[in-house]
């Protein structure tokens, strides 16, 4: 129902819309982005790659099936705020533990409902992503727009340090290959997938010194997804270069993929709107098969900058030909821009994990 406290969403370009507050009361700012997945709102809210962003779901009804611990990708919400067209306070699902409203309240996540999200999506599509502020405490449009303008830009921002854990921990104790995960904001389902394949997995902080990690004697390195601009992470880049020199197979997803590309001297640029959804077609150029993939990236590797001597483009986005995957030649490694671990999204690309393990076993 459209009752309850008023809330406003203000964009840096002066656009202001009014809705009602859902979740926690308060104020939050960040880059306003959207996701077209029709299911999986809780996975999205807890995806560390979305750290600091205001997530607008394009599907109008959000909250329908409630919230449950098993649907999270991190121990807490990672987005700055949630914007939806029609929030369901009430829910129905056999696996639900609480309402989404309750979950947001418990974690202090601010939300706004009752806004024309489609209009805002079209707006961003035209103007490009921009910062915004959601507030149920300050409803003065001018003041909110000013706050949105003052919000730091995502470009040039390092954010991995805010979502990475600061101590190493064991995520899986399988008898299989030992995988060292560099945590730039790793999604839990990546760890679950490795675990499901029998791996032994240890997660290291984003700034763990490589010698400490190497001392664990990993069979392969995994560079995780995460938020922020990869070009603003000189230390992580240096670590990536050092990992590559070690010679063990390396697998990178999303931010990890971008770091690997940068390490090889390729160019990473900020996209106009980015890809955020669970329906992006990606063609595997080696097999000619198409995978329907989960995507969440605002930066991408420039195709022209990929030197054929050091890597081959292995995957392309069929919609706009964005580079979606690389197979490295100068070292044993593969990386993808999208999310083969899904969660939310289709399971078409799980084979990449197996491929990584094959590389390890071959080595």
């Amino acid at each position: 129902m459209d009752s309850g406290r008023e809330s406003k969403l203000a964009l840096a370009d002066g656009t202001v819309v009014t809705g009602r507050a859902v979740g926690a009361h308060g104020e939050a700012g960040g880059e306003l982005c959207f996701n077209t997945s029709m299911t999986g709102y809780q996975e999205i809210l807890t995806d560390p790659s979305y750290h600091g962003q205001i997530m607008m779901m394009t599907y109008p009804h959000i909250g329908n099936y409630g919230a449950a611990d098993r649907d999270t990708e991190a121990s807490r919400p990672m987005v700055a705020a949630l914007a939806v067209r029609e929030f369901s306070d009430r829910y129905s699902n056999s696996s639900a533990e609480e309402s989404l409203d309750n979950y947001m309240l418990r974690h202090g996540l601010v939300g706004i409902s009752g806004v024309d999200t489609r209009r805002l999506v079209l707006h961003i599509r035209k103007r490009g992503v921009m910062n915004a502020v959601v507030s149920s405490v300050d409803t003065d449009p001018q003041s909110l727009v000013a706050k949105a303008r003052a919000w730091p830009s995502m470009e040039g921002l390092e954010l991995a340090s805010r979502v990475s854990r600061d101590q190493p921990y064991d995520a899986a104790a399988g008898a299989g290959p030992r995988i060292a995960v560099y945590d730039f904001g790793v999604k839990q389902n990546i760890l679950r997938t490795f675990a499901g394949l029998g791996c032994r997995v240890r997660v290291f902080p984003h700034d763990a010194p490589l010698p400490d990690v190497a001392a664990w004697r990993p069979d392969g390195f995994f560079l995780s997804n995460g938020p922020g601009d990869p070009r603003a992470m000189p230390e992580a880049l240096a670590t990536t270069q050092a990992i590559i020199r070690l010679g063990q197979p390396v697998f990178g997803i999303c931010l990890g993929h971008q770091l690997m590309a940068l390490a090889e001297g390729f160019v990473v640029h900020k996209m106009h709107v980015g890809h955020r959804g669970a329906n992006h077609p990606v063609k595997n150029l080696a097999t000619s098969r198409v995978e329907v993939t989960t995507q969440n990236h605002g930066f991408a590797v420039q195709a022209a900058s990929v030197a054929s001597t050091s890597a081959a483009i292995s995957h392309l986005n069929l919609n706009d030909q964005t580079v979606e995957g690389l197979r490295f030649r100068s070292f044993t490694g593969l990386s993808v821009q999208y999310h083969p671990e899904a969660s939310p999204g289709p399971h078409d690309s799980r084979y990449l994990f197996e491929e990584f393990l094959r590389l390890i076993n071959q080595g």
Binding site: M38, P60, R90, R125, L318
Partner: protein
């Protein structure tokens, strides 16, 4: 792989006459497939006996065979046309079964015809329940426990082994689940098993664990030759399992699944499709989910384009049949573009940012003694689809689209009493969502309603929200209502009629409208774009919602709006869709931008590449007017959309909106019995004596005056609803009482019934100057059988030259007198060489497509051109009025009796057929003529 070059000619099999369970959605998909294949340069040969389809138009295929869907005709066509391939997946179960029978005979192999788009073995697997079961078990897909019975004894044993009643009975290989259903008692078990064994061509029935009350889902899949599989749409049924999906209110996308549950379903569906064969094409998979444990089981898989794929196409904007046809000729998904964006790939899964609700439409009132309970056997004759930004908005719009007299989900009249509501909710009936709303009006809780109906609480909560909004409106006056309150109601789909009803003061719909426009509250028109706004779309496919931004840009071209005919029902079906499509095309030819408004997802007219702009909206006054005010068209065409469009004409005219063609005043004159009789009298045209009554007493007086037998009927109804022939006072009393109960407040019309008369149907077009008679049809059945249920012969077979001349003279005189511009249909009866005019309808009739197919003249197109200023003279000069008919064309009615075993198969003045077939015969000794002619004598002897 690009398109195959080793095949040139492709035979496409249509689905034949419309029956319950297989309706005009196959015209939509078949037409799309034909057009796609022709665009690829293939020579397309089509067989379909249904003349009312766009598919069988000369423009759709290279060669059209209007012949019965029988092995013999296919074999003959193959001998003549020598196709390289046959695509049988666009013709429903009929097309598949036919292809299958010929496959078993080795016919395709013998003639070097490749079956494309499906794997015949896959059909066998999916149709043979035991084989399907075994296969699913082998790939680890959970299913309901079940076993095949070949006798009643076996059925009883299986039932016991499954833990007793209830169980579900499913006869093998029947259309639309015919003969199936849930069984609660042992006597019912006995009856249904016996009948199922009889109906099944292999005399088998499946006895299955009942999943009554489980949630039901459907996934629409596409696969290419490279084994890429995509899911186009997930559909959730509001009605839990136990109600056939064709009879269920369904919603897209799925609303109550977590991503993990949905992905599990997606993975399973893909695994299932891969397991049954390696064909490239469309596929539909159904699942049941236990609401308590979350256990998911596979229900069935259909390896072809289905009713749900038509719905999924309209719901998402993804043209499934078109893509499926291209996949069948070798393309892979990644080679095809998404037609909606034009820039992105067709190999993706549509993301939608709105909610689509489908509500079926039934015609129970046509069948006396019918069991109205919804079961696993489909009973609906049509459906509507509505798009809204929320479920509540789309549900209310669906009710506005249904044309059952509602202005939304109730709130337009006093609601039913508590005992009635409780009684109606005990079993699934057609009005379940409405009764759920009524239950909340009576203060029922979600838990109570869920307990009775098993509908998922999320849907119940949404409906309860609608009732909450009602409460907020009640007690308010228009002036005291805040903008936010009014907007909240509009955003939940409330029509102005409902708001007027709910407010405490006496206000009219017009006043609510004026108030809301004064407050600048009008709907926005949003695009259906397959991608939730992520990419720019170029398809002109729109729906309305109370949002901030309108995306439908109004061009500076002159425009014409064509109103569609809404949901299919008996008496108004696919024929009107046919006429609308021609109307759209002719409008474009005449240099206008053609804008289509319709709400029937099964139709060709709602394919987004037919009109210049498509508004998928209820053909409901408020919604239509909103679009008119946005687009400001030069005029509206109401002649082609049946009663649905026509009945809006008066109010549109009152608002100064131009109706193209025959004026509202003249349409009214034709409709009004008294005034029309005066017209006939002034033209010296005989008509049966008649009278009008509003009570039983009056009716009897009229009957005594005009003499028995009399034809008794309510005025202003479709397809002869409630119409009866009465031979004496008692029967008149009984009839009138029945009508008064059925349609309270309706005026009753009594006509002298012309016993032993021959009925004549005439279609004509007038351009303001002259009248062109496009077809004169003689009915084989005697007058008294509804014209829609009669076998019509074109040209007449036993009328004297003099009678024919009289008929022509009368039709021309009437057309001139009514100042018809466009189409007119006149019904006459010849009795003892005397010609009587029964009625004249200045609009497209049901017979327009039949006449067009029989004569080769595009009647609806000609009529539309004339409405927009073209002349018959010019069209004649182009040869457009030249008939190519050299034989007799026979229109044969087709019925869906098998869906209503409890109903007596009797014909009368009330229409009961659901479809029609066309047959061409050289002589009257042909069985197509002889059979109904012999039956005529049967009628006469009664």
């Amino acid at each position: 792989m690009p398109r195959r070059t080793d095949i040139e000619t492709i035979l496409l099999i249509g689905s034949g006459p419309i029956v319950i369970g297989q309706a005009c959605e196959f015209d939509y998909s078949g037409t799309q497939a034909c057009r796609a294949l022709r665009a690829e340069g293939y020579h397309v040969v089509l067989i379909n006996s249904n003349p009312a389809t766009i598919m069988t138009d000369p423009m759709t295929a290279d060669k059209v065979y209007l012949e019965p869907l029988e092995e013999e005709s296919v074999m003959r066509i193959v001998e003549r046309e020598r196709p390289d391939a046959v695509l049988p997946t666009m013709g429903g179960q009929t097309g598949l079964n036919l292809a299958d029978r010929l496959q078993r005979k080795g016919f395709w192999d013998a003639h070097d015809v490749e079956v494309i788009g499906v794997d015949i073995d896959a059909i066998h697997i999916t149709e043979d329940r035991q084989q399907f079961r075994d296969l699913m078990e082998s790939i680890g897909v959970d299913q309901a426990r079940s076993k095949v019975a070949r006798s009643l004894l076996e059925a009883k044993e299986i039932t016991q082994a499954l833990g007793g009643l209830p169980v579900v009975i499913r006869p093998s290989f029947t259309l639309g689940g015919a003969g199936g259903g849930i069984v609660w008692s042992s006597s019912e078990l006995k009856r249904k098993v016996r009948r199922g064994l009889e109906m099944s061509p292999v005399h088998e029935v499946l006895i299955e664990e009942s999943m009554y009350g489980w949630k039901e889902f459907e996934l629409e899949l596409l696969r290419d030759a490279n084994d890429n599989v995509i899911i186009i749409c997930a559909i959730e049924n509001v009605d839990p399992m136990g109600v056939h999906t064709g009879d269920s209110v369904t919603v897209a996308p799925a609303q109550t699944l977590t991503d993990k549950q949905y992905q599990h379903m997606r993975d399973t569906a893909i695994r299932m499709m891969r397991s049954i064969g390696t064909f490239a094409g469309g596929c539909n998979v159904q699942f049941g989910v236990d609401p308590v444990t979350g256990r998911m089981i596979a229900v069935e898989i259909n390896p072809r384009v289905s009713r749900s794929s038509a719905l999924a196409s309209k719901a998402t904007g993804y043209p499934i049949a078109k893509v499926a046809a291209r996949l069948a000729v070798g393309y892979t998904l990644d080679e095809l573009p998404n037609d909606v964006t034009g820039t992105t790939s067709a190999c993706f899964e549509p993301a939608i940012d709105y909610v689509v609700t489908k509500v079926p439409r039934w015609n129970f009132e046509k069948f006396e003694g019918v069991d109205e309970e919804l079961t696993t056997q489909m009973k609906a004759v049509g459906e509507v689809m509505a798009i809204g930004r929320t479920f509540t908005e789309s549900l209310q719009k669906a009710w506005q689209s249904l044309e059952v007299g509602y202005a939304g989900l109730g709130a337009d009249r006093e609601h039913a009493s508590r005992p009635t509501v409780r009684e109606r909710l005990r079993k699934p009936y057609w009005d379940r969502t409405l009764q759920i709303r009524n239950a909340f009006k009576h203060g029922a809780t979600i838990a109570e309603v869920q307990d009775i109906t098993k509908v998922d609480p999320w849907f119940l909560m949404q409906i309860e929200d609608i009732v909450e909004v009602e409460k907020q409106l009640e007690g308010h006056h228009l002036k005291s209502l805040s903008r936010d309150q009014l907007l909240a109601a509009k955003r939940r789909g409330f029509s102005d009629v409902q708001i007027a009803f709910l407010l405490a003061q006496e206000v009219t719909e017009e006043e609510v409208r004026a108030h809301r426009l004064a407050h600048d509250m009008r709907p926005a028109f949003l695009v259906v774009d397959t991608c939730a706004g992520e990419f720019a779309a170029r398809t002109p496919y729109y729906y309305s919602s109370y949002e901030d931004l309108t995306e439908s840009v109004v061009s500076d071209q002159p425009k014409v709006i064509i109103l569609g005919s809404g949901p299919n029902r008996i008496g108004q079906g696919i024929e009107f869709d046919y006429s609308c499509v021609h109307g759209v095309q002719a409008t474009r030819e005449m240099g206008y931008e053609a804008i289509m408004i319709n709400c029937n997802p099964e139709t060709v007219s709602t394919d987004f590449d037919i009109a210049d702009k498509l508004y998928f909206e209820p053909v409901f006054f408020e919604r239509v007017l909103d679009i008119i005010e946005h687009e400001k068209p030069a005029g509206i065409i109401v002649q082609l959309g049946g009663q649905t469009a026509l009945k809006l004409a008066r109010r549109l005219t009152e608002r100064g909106i131009r109706i193209l063609g025959t004026t509202q005043a003249m349409m009214d004159l034709a409709e009004h019995r008294g005034k029309f009789s005066e017209v006939l009298a002034s033209l010296d045209i005989p008509f049966p004596a008649y009278g009008m009554a509003t009570s039983v007493y009056e009716a009897v007086r009229v009957a005594e005056r005009i003499g028995y037998p009399v034809l008794v009927r309510p005025s202003y109804v479709l397809g002869g609803q409630g119409m009866r022939i009465a031979i004496n006072k008692e029967e008149v009393e009984e009839c009138v009482t029945h009508i008064c109960r059925l349609l309270p407040g309706n005026e009753i019309l009594l006509d002298r019934f012309l016993d032993n008369g021959t009925e004549i149907d005439v279609d004509a077009v007038r351009d303001g100057q002259e009248v062109w008679i496009s077809g004169i049809m003689q009915h084989i059945e005697p007058a008294g059988v509804h014209s829609g249920d009669s076998t019509a012969v074109l040209p007449p077979y036993s009328l004297s030259e003099e009678v024919m001349a009289t008929i022509r003279r009368y039709v021309i005189a009437i057309a001139h007198r009514l100042d018809v511009i466009g189409l007119v249909n006149v019904q006459l009866v010849v009795q003892n060489e005397k010609v009587y005019v029964i009625e004249a309808n200045p609009r497209a009739s049901r017979t327009v497509p039949f006449v067009a197919k029989a004569t080769g003249c595009a009647v609806a197109r000609i009529a539309t051109r004339v409405m927009l200023g073209d002349t018959l003279q010019a069209l004649r000069a182009q040869g457009a009025l030249e008939s190519t008919l050299t034989r007799y064309a026979i229109k044969e009615p087709v019925f869906s009796w098998d869906k209503f075993p409890e109903v007596r198969r009797e014909l009368g003045p009330e229409m009961k057929s659901t479809g029609e077939a066309i047959a061409f015969v050289d002589t009257l000794t042909d069985s197509h003529f002889r059979r109904p002619y012999e039956l005529r004598n049967l009628y006469l002897s009664r």
